[in-house]
Amino acid sequence: MHRMIFSLILSGIFCLTCATLAAAAGEEIYQLQTGFKLAPAIIMVALLAVYVGVGFLSKVSNTSGYWVAGQGIGKLGNGAAIASDWMSAASFMGVAGLLYLKGWFGLGYIIGWTGGYVLLLCLIAAQLRRFGKYTIPEFLGDRYNSHGVRLIAASVTVIIAITYSTAQFKGIGLICGWIFGMSYQASVFFAAGVVCLYMLISGMAGVTRNQQIQYVVLISAFLLPLWFLMNKAGGHSYLPQLEYGKIISNLMEGKVAASAGGVLDAEATAELKRAYLPWGKGDFYHFIALVFTLMVGTAGLPHIMIRFYTVKNEDVARKSVLWGLFFIGLLYWSSPVYAALGKFWNPTGGKEVADMIILSAPEKAGLPTAFIGYLASGALAAGLSTVAGLLVAGASAIAHDFYATVLRPDCTDREALAVGRLATAGLCIVVIGFALYPLALIAQIVAMAFAIAGNTIFPVVVLGIWYSKSNKYGALAGMSFGLGMTLLAMLGWAAKIEIFSGSGILPATSSALLVCPLAFLINIIVSNIMHDKLDEESADCADELLRKIHNLPGYGDQTEQPKTKAFEH
């Protein structure tokens, strides 16, 4: 424990030093006001103190308390927890940025990220709950009785953690850069330092996150500025989420803020109108592909599935999804307001300003810096807790699934723990590397993580639950295909190959429309071909698990099976 604290402090200090050194280079952070801002810095520290402090006050003594933190809480509380887990720098900054840049087309992100919950609820949630274990690699490993399947699932968890964290790091970096007036590269290192310190403080003595209060902190930081902004934009400030419609209608006619010129000329108006017409920023195929990818991705993301175990009562678990979606809806009803107001004050901004639009719109509106600081701190807190959760999940996949289960089954807990710590540090370094030269906008990077989940995890989990003939050979073939194609698309995007770009046939952000159904098909076909080759033990394992998750008669009869002990708890 002491060694971990020491190494975390050391790496935190290292990152902060790197940041200060690099800050000497001091280039501009995009188009925002530069320089150190005292008020936002104080607010940031205070908000993080509240955020972590709440966890200290509501600390639970045993480690399993972390997972079942919501046990005594009703559907409303667990709904808030689901929403608080969901809120990251991507939802705070990224969605508004994409809506700003892509107008109507960006709405695909909103319906993709809300509609996915419906799919998850229908196909996976209830059955997976009855399985009673926490991680997707465990579920798949038991269902298919195969180390190979388990390892691929664990690798996917790690890759998703890296991709997702990269996007969060970009967000945290941009915010730190704005508050402390550093260059982007410097602030990424600074952000890494902040992340390490956050993980150190919140990881000490088993602090749990009190997600209900954290949700309130986050959502209030996001919503409150809207009333002021709407007021400045000439609205009545009654309900910004309904009032911004008029602003969008005006934008389509070229009417913008007086400070941005009042009424735009014909060319600029046409450009603005284009953004808000359906296919101005992307065609029909890409819209459907994006929506589909984000939906299957949401339903296949490991850290979202886990949330169904946070309440013991199955009835409450179902209803809490309803509330969770409602609380997430509040966020997504508000992101477009920021985007629309951003257009209103800065109609011609491009990619450089997109990810910072939630800060830049208030700044252009002349909102006090302290107020924007509150907003920025909310986004920072959302990003930090997401990164901390993801790094821990990724590291535990390495330590638990790779090392302790497959590589060295006889290792001690102590060794596994050490591997876990090393893995956390390793992941952190990899993420910094990617974040220094981000591939795309925040929401786009996150969408790639969703593509991975949708192409690999979603098909194999759905078939694992709903198709008893699916076996380990089919699972391996389907997962390898899904993962391979998604990574290929991501590499292709990075190498700027046409068919993998935003306008190609297989964009990295929305590859699942083509790849996911194929992965289903491959899984089914290979499973049927290899049906006779399947050994008895694997078939028994699958049967036992299926009996359990579908409440079939005969569960627990075959006590001579070695695997059955895994089902008792």
């Binding site: 319906i111 419906v118 229908c122 196909l123 309904l242 419609g245 101005g280 029909f284 299926l546 409440n551």
Partner: protein, 104 residues
Amino acid sequence: MAEKQRVNVNFFAPSTDSMKAEVTVARTIIVFWFVLSYCLPVFIWLAGLGDPNGLGESFLTQTRFLGFPLHYWLLAQGCTLGYILLCKLYCILWDKLVVHLHGK
């Protein structure tokens, strides 16, 4: 060795009563989900086919609803509302069709 009775689970051919009930609920919701998520964009696409610029301008983009262009409102707020209602419908259907089968 005698062939052991294997478990047979198939989404399109549910075997037990409780599985049938669960699949019925899931199917109903998925149909609505599909209409909301895909038929709506298709509708906007079909309506906008007449636009010579290929941008999809149509009566949907010209109509105003609560101040919004209708095509914008439908996706930005209509869909989100629809999904929340679908979750509610799921809970109602599940309570009605499935819960009594589990003896709870």
